[in-house]
């Protein structure tokens, strides 16, 4: 958008020092926070023990009371069991064909309960005095399926894409199993959960995301460690199968690293920030290694990239809400490698803003909804001009999209794209798309999309038109955890 500005670098600037200080500071905070979180429950335990075991009269009374309660609930259970047994006997007599069935009911027992239940009978201060496990009276084939209880939730999402039409700039194959995403998700321990998404594509396997989330930190902090999609706006955090369109917007292609986006190994810390009543305000700070597609490249260990994100959200009634975000990312790029210039001086800065308006009437939420979203990206990339002069290229891109759910099975949508190129801001690609989605059930989608693009053709050095028709089949196997709103 703006003309390239030239700069000279005679001395290294104090970035490294400041970065190091910042890093060591955040590392300190992270460590102390984790340690604190893991110790705290113990403290709570020790605090609680003397309270309950102290031989003062009121607590004694309380104990007797809880014991009485337990006896009463046990008596209730016994009578219930008896009646159920009677019912079962009757049923068995009437319908012998039910014999030998395998029940999945045992998975109803939560892992923690296995340990809790026996101790509950012996210790009066057990937190849950033998809950009425009525469901368990109907369990027959328990032991075998119990063995699998601690397995993570496993899912696979198949993403099959077909393309027809003309596109000489970025042609995709006619038919491909674009991606098979395997998800493994589980609670690790009382302090953390983990999510891993492995993406099997046409060219190989890639850990799309794999991170642990610490949920029990003090001061309302949420810490994620691992490989993650960076919190740079909305579309960068979204997995392929969760996109509202078959493809990603042009601006992702041109400025934010394409399909993989900014997806790197790092540490993320977020927290709710003080806000006026009914406003949700969240801040996220992330540090990554600095290797993301063609956006960031870490030449040296200290060339980490940083991402900051703030999110502001408000309900405008029970059906409508507005969601705003601002993001910033900064890291080194590869423009200086192999040149006479110092590669450390070549940086990429990305600024992004996003806005989403959603409408979904609660009484008819499965039939109708509307979503409008727009995202703006500004890229400032240090590079060498064709005449070998150091310059910063300022490129801008945006997309606006809308989706409307017509009924339980059909959704329509449209998107407008416009984006310069990170390496040459004067080449602006434009495009628009229309999409129709059919949902046979919640677990599969069939889509077709028409896509037009007015794109810069590098090999022929001219703009060409692309007209394409895409279709997609998406299917979910297993238990895929819900995505963040």
């Amino acid at each position: 958008m703006q003309g390239p500005e030239t700069r000279e670098f005679s001395k290294t600037y104090p970035l490294d020092d400041a970065m190091k200080r910042l890093l060591s500071l955040s590392a300190c905070v992270l460590f102390s926070a984790t340690a604190y979180a893991q110790e705290r429950p113990l403290e709570a335990e020790t605090k609680r023990t003397p309270e309950t075991s102290s031989p003062t009269a009121p607590s004694e009374e309380l104990r007797i009371k809880t014991l009485e309660e337990q006896v009463r609930s046990l008596a209730e259970q016994v009578s219930l069991l008896r009646s159920e047994l009677q019912v079962l006997r009757d049923a068995k007599g009437a319908a012998p064909q039910h014999e030998g069935r395998v029940l999945l009911a045992s998975s109803h027992v939560e892992p923690g309960m296995l340990a809790v239940a026996p101790s509950a009978t012996s210790s009066p201060r057990s937190p849950e005095p033998v809950p009425a496990q009525i469901a368990q009276t109907q369990v027959y084939g328990g032991a075998t399926s119990n063995a699998k209880l601690l397995n993570p939730d496993i899912s696979l999402i198949g993403d099959f894409i077909g393309t027809a039409g003309r596109n000489t700039v970025s042609p995709s194959r006619s038919l491909e199993l674009h991606e098979s995403e395997v998800g493994l998700q589980a609670i690790i321990d009382p302090y953390a959960r983990a999510d891993a998404f492995l993406s099997f594509g046409e060219t190989g396997v890639n850990v799309e995301e794999g991170y642990v989330t610490f949920t029990s930190l003090p001061a309302g902090l949420l810490l994620k460690v691992g490989k993650m999609r960076a919190e740079l706006g909305k579309v960068n955090t979204t997995h392929n199968h969760a996109l509202p369109f078959i493809d990603r917007p042009l601006v992702t292609e041109n400025l934010v690293g394409g399909e993989d986006g900014i997806d790197d190994a790092g540490i993320s810390l977020s927290r709710f920030l003080p806000a006026p009543k009914n406003w949700f305000f969240q801040g996220t700070a992330q540090v990554y290694r600095g290797d993301s597609s063609d956006v960031f490249t870490a030449n040296r260990r200290q060339d980490v990239s940083v991402v900051g994100h703030v999110r502001l959200y408000r309900d405008l009634g029970e059906s409508t809400n507005i969601d705003l975000g601002g993001s910033y990312a900064r890291g080194h790029n590869h423009a200086g490698i192999g040149t006479t210039f110092n590669p450390e001086n070549f940086l990429s800065n990305l600024y992004a803003a996003d806005a989403t308006l959603r409408w979904k009437p609660l009484r008819r939420s499965i039939y109708h909804s509307f979503l409008f979203r727009t995202e703006l990206f500004w890229s400032a990339r240090d590079q060498l001009s064709p005449r070998n002069v150091f310059e910063t290229q300022h490129a801008f891109g945006l997309y606006s999209s809308a989706e409307y759910r017509i009924n339980r099975r059909w959704t329509v949508g449209g998107r407008f794209d416009r984006s310069g190129r990170a390496t040459n801001a004067s080449l602006t690609d434009t495009g628009f798309s229309g999409i129709l989605t059919y949902w046979p059930s919640e677990f599969s989608q069939i889509r077709s999309q028409y896509r037009y693009g007015h794109l810069w053709d590098i090999t022929n050095a001219r703009f060409t038109n692309a007209n394409e028709f895409l279709f997609q089949f998406l299917f979910v196997m297993g238990a895929h955890g819900a995505h963040a709103f």
Binding site: F9, Y13, L15, L22, L25, V29, A37, R40, L62, E69, S73, H98, V102, L104, A105, S107, H108, E110, P127, E128, P131, A132, A135, Q138, P190, R193, T215, S216, L217, A219, G220, L221, L222, L269, R271, F272, L273, F280, Q282, A285, V306, G308, Y313, D315, N321, D323, R330, L347, N349, L362, R363, S365, I366, R408, R409, E442, F443, A482, A484, F485
Partner: protein
């Protein structure tokens, strides 16, 4: 170069703000226990037991499909301050609650923590699938039917569980909660006798429902659900299934179609035209209509609707 400096300063500032906020003491809630529930029915039960010692709020509304609630950040603001989270369980909320719990940054209500209360563990669960479970059967719940609160006896069992939980969290108020439970038990037994008496003349009457929301209700009040408007749970009505259902209803003489408030009435109405049946909107949850303000009024409302429908289609 100058812009690089500014950037560093910006980052440092953001980090400083985050750190500063981190050191702020968390705002201490009033002495009332802060309870969040997944659905309004659990909120109503918690309110019965907790009385004025608790502050209760539900995430889902009574007229909303509890399978499809949006995990809005505004709920995070409430979950963050909750002392206790009461959930329906049985994977009813699997599509929206887990990310809310994770992002709430509230250690008290994480799964397995003392402030996480799964009401299904206290209830009698029906329709636990047998044999091999696949999604060929639609959005099947492998752990059993999660609409178990529509049986007053389960309501009582959940209330008992809540009483124990609240007493554990606030031992000083244990006698207050016990007294409130006793009072609730007495009232629910009285009401249940009344409801059973009202439904007695219609024992064994057959109905069709839209979704499988009513097994516990039907079992308790001795009515028989013989078919569903949905071909499989979570799958929208299909023409073949509708034709088959019309045939079934004619054969069995089914005259009542009960629909949850969040489903479209088009297919039920057309089935009703074919079979001469009556379509009624039954409320599966407290708050489905303005007048259903508590657990008792929920049954009052549904039983009145059913009675009227059975009378009109004698």
């Amino acid at each position: 170069m100058r812009s690089a400096h500014i950037c560093i300063r910006c980052i440092a500032l953001v980090a400083a703000v985050v750190l500063f906020c981190a050191t702020c003491p968390p705002t201490r809630a009033a002495s009332k226990l802060n309870i969040m529930t997944a659905t309004t029915d659990l909120a109503a039960l918690a309110q019965e037991i907790g009385g004025d010692r608790v502050e209760v709020e539900s995430i889902a509304r009574g007229y909303q499909d509890p399978h499809f609630v949006e995990a809005k950040p505004s709920f995070l603001l409430k979950l963050r301050r909750a002392d206790l989270l009461i959930v329906v369980g049985l994977e009813l909320e699997i599509g929206w609650l887990p990310p809310l719990i994770t992002q709430s940054t509230n250690p008290k209500i994480q799964v397995g923590a003392p402030g996480y209360f799964d009401a299904s563990r206290y209830s009698k669960i029906l329709e636990i699938p047998t044999g091999i479970v696949t999604r060929a059967e639609g959005d099947v719940h492998p752990l059993g039917n999660p609409h178990y609160w529509l049986d007053p006896e389960n309501g009582l069992r959940i209330a008992k569980g809540i009483q124990n939980k609240l007493s554990e969290m606030r031992p000083d108020d244990a006698s207050y909660f016990a007294q409130r439970y006793d009072n609730f038990e007495q009232r629910i037994r009285q009401s249940d006798d009344k409801w059973l008496a009202e439904m007695k003349p219609y024992a064994g009457r057959k109905i069709v429902t839209y979704h499988r929301s009513w097994p516990n209700f039907a079992e308790h009040f001795h009515i028989e659900v013989v078919g569903y408007v949905e071909p499989r749970p979570g799958i929208p009505p299909s023409p073949q299934h509708t034709v088959a259902l019309i045939g079934l209803m004619k054969r069995e003489g089914v005259k009542v179609i009960a629909v949850e408030p969040y489903f479209d009435l088009k297919t039920p109405n057309s089935i009703a035209r074919e079979t001469g049946a009556k379509v009624i909107v039954l409320m599966p949850s407290v708050g489905g209509e303005k007048e259903i303000t508590d657990y008792f009024k929920l049954f009052d409302y549904d039983i009145a609707k059913l009675k009227q429908a059975f009378e009109e289609t004698k």
